[in-house]
């Protein structure tokens, strides 16, 4: 009888071994959004359309990302550059470029298909909103604003984070400078507007 009680108690202790073991392990919880987790260098998040150093759009509206997309999340409509309104080098630019981020599976095939390295996936992942329609990102939110530099290719990002994002965080946030950044260019613009933090 007693033997059975002891054996049962030992079994319970053995069962809780994993549970109690975690009392002495460092907690993984991050104080999000004050502190944001370090991503893998090639993390696939929100898209960004890059520019050339002279400010021209890299995207030529060729629609190769659209046909490569396995989720049919991209819409591109091309148009012709005119001497008066030259958006990109060469003859063609994207008059319309839209990605439905809800449909997107963040596989990065668009990035691979792009012949001009225009579309890249950034580590930005915070895209919450209240309406489905808001998740269709058009050129106004995808394209790096002219004052935002050229955007950064994944290979050039220190620790997987775009160089420009670190700078943003340094100026406008009290959180972990090394890892914090705004979710989107759009978000940054909003924040700048609301807080009067324009540079």
């Amino acid at each position: 009888m007693l033997r059975a009680v002891i054996a049962g108690f030992v079994a319970i202790l053995a069962g809780f071994r994993t549970t109690f073991g975690y009392l002495f392990v460092k907690k993984p919880t991050i104080a999000y959004p004050s502190i944001k987790k370090q991503h893998a260098p090639r993390f696939h998040g929100l898209h960004e359309l890059r520019r050339y150093a002279d400010g021209k759009e890299r995207c030529i509206g060729c629609e190769l990302c659209q046909i490569a997309c396995p989720a049919n999340a991209i819409v591109v409509v091309g148009a012709e550059n005119t001497p008066a309104d030259r958006r990109s080098p060469g003859e063609r630019y994207a008059a319309r470029y839209e990605i439905d981020e809800l449909r997107c599976i963040f596989c990065g095939l668009c990035e691979e298909a792009c012949p001009t390295d225009a579309i890249v996936l950034t580590p930005r992942f915070e895209m919450s909103d209240y309406r489905r329609g808001s998740f269709v990102y058009a050129k106004d939110r995808l394209l790096v604003p002219p004052q935002g530099g050229v955007g950064s290719a994944p290979d050039e990002r220190p620790n997987g984070i775009p160089a420009d994002l670190g700078a943003v965080a340094q100026q406008k946030s009290t959180v972990d400078i090394a890892t914090g950044y705004d979710a989107t260019w759009y978000g940054r613009a909003l924040k700048t507007e609301r807080r009067g933090l324009a540079g």
Binding site: I60, C62, E63, G78, A79, E91, R92, P115, T116
Partner: protein, 751 residues
């Protein structure tokens, strides 16, 4: 190429398969029998071999070197390998040469995705280039003409476009300029490339060198939703593919195997596609309130229409109701239209709304028979501007098969082939009737020559000769409308009599379907007076045309690519239309309008399946012979009017297609140099053409040697300058305008 049954056959072995083909067959055609597609660039079934690109190399046993399949005639016992290692090596080398200076434009090239150079590079190319030098840079986006853009870098000089312009259209304006790597496509005169068939070169081009201005960078081929339908811009009835993306009709493509069009399209059919989403298109029924249009709902519109018809019938009788339309409707709709109004006792039904008075020839023939004719007699307005693709058949008959072309009347053929042009029927050379196969092409306007030649034709028919007739008219489905019964019977009035009655206030309700008599009816003054006096006019249209100025109620209809049903082409063949584009929400098809009207008037209509059966099997019945016009009086010195047709004239779809701005005809009066001198006007002057109390104002003078002396040639169907105020053959005076008038004239054209 020749496939006459008397030719003996030879046996050839292609990739181990034994084939029997007629003697004289080209190897590239023979290989198609076993679905062994030999790659070609310069070769085209309808253009023949040229031996320029060398991509079709094949290995033939007992021949020391690779041979080009496109220009090798098969011989008995020939053994061919189209996929041997030696062949592949040959093709790889040819491709390396073709790609030496070809730019890496594929991502932005309009041809990318349907490009033969891409496809064959994938299949036979070596993948990587060995070239280390820079590629030769040439101008991109060269403006070749109003419709075509040339990218000189992409051109591989296969000369398909040059040969199309030479062999098919006979116009010979495109040439290859310079030699070696500097060779480019250009026009021989350095003038813009202007042709009514220019769009075909973009389809023939195996690379992206020649592209359409209207489609430039609009889409990639894999985005397009393709529908095969029938073109209803004229009465030829060409099959075409309509390519649409996101609700925009972006381009049309020809159907290579189509028997009607022979695989070609004219520029009107190809490029007049930009009006479907035009902001000026009517989006809901419009009711006139004084000078304003009020948008009303369909229920109210149909109820008002039905009430007007019922009141007119009950008070002034069915003779006071008129219906004009059918030439732009489907067979189903035309049948429904006459059924509905005949049920009410209305007999004033007619499709005629322009100058054309007859649509069904006495002896019908097919286009293939036209091509095989030995003598082609063309009466009146030449088909080059009313049925351009049919004119290509005539050119083919004349040039490739040695037919004789005789044009009768004030117009010469307007096409680029040799012709005998006579002014009067009596001047037709008598040996023209000696041929065994005679084709008669008649514009359907003035039947006087048909009456004069009636005995002659009957004689030929008795002699057992093949005599066939074609009427390339103004309205696409005029023949269908006639076959469906949209003609006055049992004492009903035709359009001319309806207008005469309306002028005296005898018509109370006039329903017009897709017609524009104010701009197009042969007697413009009569049409205008009639429309002004008619108290209630209902017009089913896409746009507010010149006729809409007189309408009380305008109903938004469906456009050509939005229709689903059947039409008859001018040879009487039933052609199928499939809807390729969704009509705007507020528009109804003419059929739907008529069903709603029948409902409001409590008229029983045939079931949809019965209608379709009726539309597919047109009744054969005796058709009218067309109007006989009195010969215009006058001496030799008088200045006479010739009314010319133009494929880009019109107040509807072309007028509201902004991309065709450059192609639309200007209000021009063409004069012979001596005539111009006698009148004291010079090229570029603005003139008024006065005929009694009627006037056609603000025409720009053009002087041309090709014009006949003592005539003034004006274009029919231009909003702002309606030539129908004048009559064909009428004597007129020309007065010169003050120089300050250009702005007024330009405003009239634009407005």
């Amino acid at each position: 190429m020749t496939t006459q049954p008397s030719v003996k056959t030879v046996t050839v072995t292609v990739d181990g398969v034994s084939l029997s083909v007629p003697e004289g067959t080209l190897l590239v055609e023979a290989a198609k029998q076993i679905q062994e597609d030999i790659p070609v660039y310069c070769y085209h079934t309808k253009l023949g071999p040229a031996g320029l690109c060398r991509i079709c190399l094949v290995e033939i046993e007992k021949m020391p070197k690779l041979q080009i399949a496109c220009n090798t005639v098969v011989t008995d016992g020939m053994v061919v390998h189209t996929a041997s290692d030696k062949t592949m090596e040959g093709r790889r080398a040819v491709l390396e040469f073709l790609l030496l200076n070809h730019p890496l434009d594929c991502p932005i090239c309009d041809k990318g995705g349907e490009c033969d150079l891409q496809d064959f590079s994938m299949a036979y190319g070596q993948g990587a280039s060995r070239k280390v030098e820079a590629k030769v840079a040439k101008p991109k986006a060269v403006d070749l003409g109003p419709t075509i853009v040339l990218d000189e870098e992409r051109c591989i000089v296969c000369q398909r476009c040059v040969r199309f312009d030479d062999i098919i259209t006979q116009e010979r304006s495109l040439v290859v300029k310079d030699r070696g790597h500097r060779d480019i496509i250009a026009t021989s005169t350095e003038e813009p490339y202007v042709s009514d068939f220019s769009g075909n070169v973009t389809e023939l081009c195996p690379v992206g060198a020649l592209t359409s201005k209207t489609y430039r960078f609009k889409s990639r081929p894999w985005d397009l939703n393709r529908t095969k339908t029938t073109c209803t811009q004229c009465s030829v009835g060409c099959q075409l593919y309509v390519d649409e993306r996101y609700g925009d009709v972006l381009r049309t493509m020809s159907v290579a195997e189509d028997e009607t069009s022979d695989g070609w399209l004219c520029d009107r059919g190809r490029y007049n596609i930009g009006f479907y989403n035009d902001p000026q298109r009517i989006a809901s029924p419009l009711l006139r309130r004084g000078d304003e249009w009020e948008q009303i709902g369909w229920d109210d519109a149909v109820a008002l229409w039905a009430r007007q018809i019922r009141e007119a019938r009950d008070t002034t009788g069915p003779e006071s109701i008129g219906v004009i339309g059918g030439g732009r409707l489907l067979n189903e709709e035309a049948f429904l239209l006459q059924h509905l109004f005949r049920s009410l006792g209305v007999e004033n039904l007619d499709w005629r709304a322009g100058r054309q008075t007859v649509a069904t020839p006495v002896f019908s023939g097919t286009y293939e028979e036209l091509e095989a004719a030995q003598t082609i007699l063309v009466f009146g307005v030449p088909p080059s501007q009313t049925a351009p693709v049919m004119d290509l058949r005539i050119r083919k008959a004349v040039v490739q098969r040695g037919a004789r072309l005789v044009t009768v009347g004030p117009h010469s053929s307007g096409s680029s082939v040799t012709e005998t042009h006579v002014r009067r029927v009596a001047d037709i050379p008598s040996d023209a009737f000696d041929a065994e196969r005679i084709a008669v092409v008649f514009d359907g306007i003035d039947a006087t020559p048909m009456r004069d030649l009636h005995e002659r034709f009957a004689e030929l028919k008795r002699a057992g000769k093949s005599l066939i007739g074609f009427i390339p008219g103004e309205q696409p489905n005029a023949r269908g409308a006639e076959a469906m019964g949209m003609l006055p019977r049992d004492g009903g009035r035709g359009t001319r009599e309806v207008f005469s009655a309306a002028k005296d206030g005898g018509i109370r309700v006039l329903s017009l379907f897709g017609v524009n008599p104010a701009l197009r009816f042969a007697d413009g003054a009569l049409a205008t007076a009639a429309l002004e006096r008619t108290p209630f006019i209902v017009l089913s249209e896409l746009f507010l045309t010149d006729t809409a100025r007189f309408a009380s109620l305008v109903l938004p209809a469906h456009g050509p690519f939005e229709r689903d049903g059947h039409v008859l082409d001018m040879t009487g063949r039933v052609q199928r239309l499939f809807a390729a584009h969704a009509a705007p929400g507020g528009a109804l098809s003419d059929g739907e309008m008529l069903v709603a009207l029948a409902d409001a008037l409590d008229i029983e209509i045939p079931s949809p399946s019965a209608l379709t059966a009726r539309a597919r099997a047109p009744e054969k019945r005796a058709m009218p012979r067309g109007e006989i016009r009195a010969a215009a009086p006058g001496g030799e010195a008088a200045l006479r009017v010739i009314i010319r047709s133009d494929i880009f004239a019109g107040g509807g779809t072309v007028y509201h297609d902004e991309r065709l701005e450059e192609l639309r005809p200007r209000p021009i009066a063409t004069l012979h140099p001596r005539t111009a001198q006698a009148l004291g006007v010079a090229a570029g002057d603005l003139v008024d053409v006065i005929a009694g109390d009627r006037a056609l104002r603000g025409l720009i003078v053009r002087v041309a040697d090709a014009a006949s002396e003592g005539t003034i040639r004006v274009v029919d169907g231009l909003p702002g300058a309606p030539a129908n105020v004048l009559f064909d053959g009428e004597e007129v005076q020309v007065t010169k305008l003050e120089p300050a008038a250009p702005l007024a004239a330009a405003g009239a054209v634009a407005g």
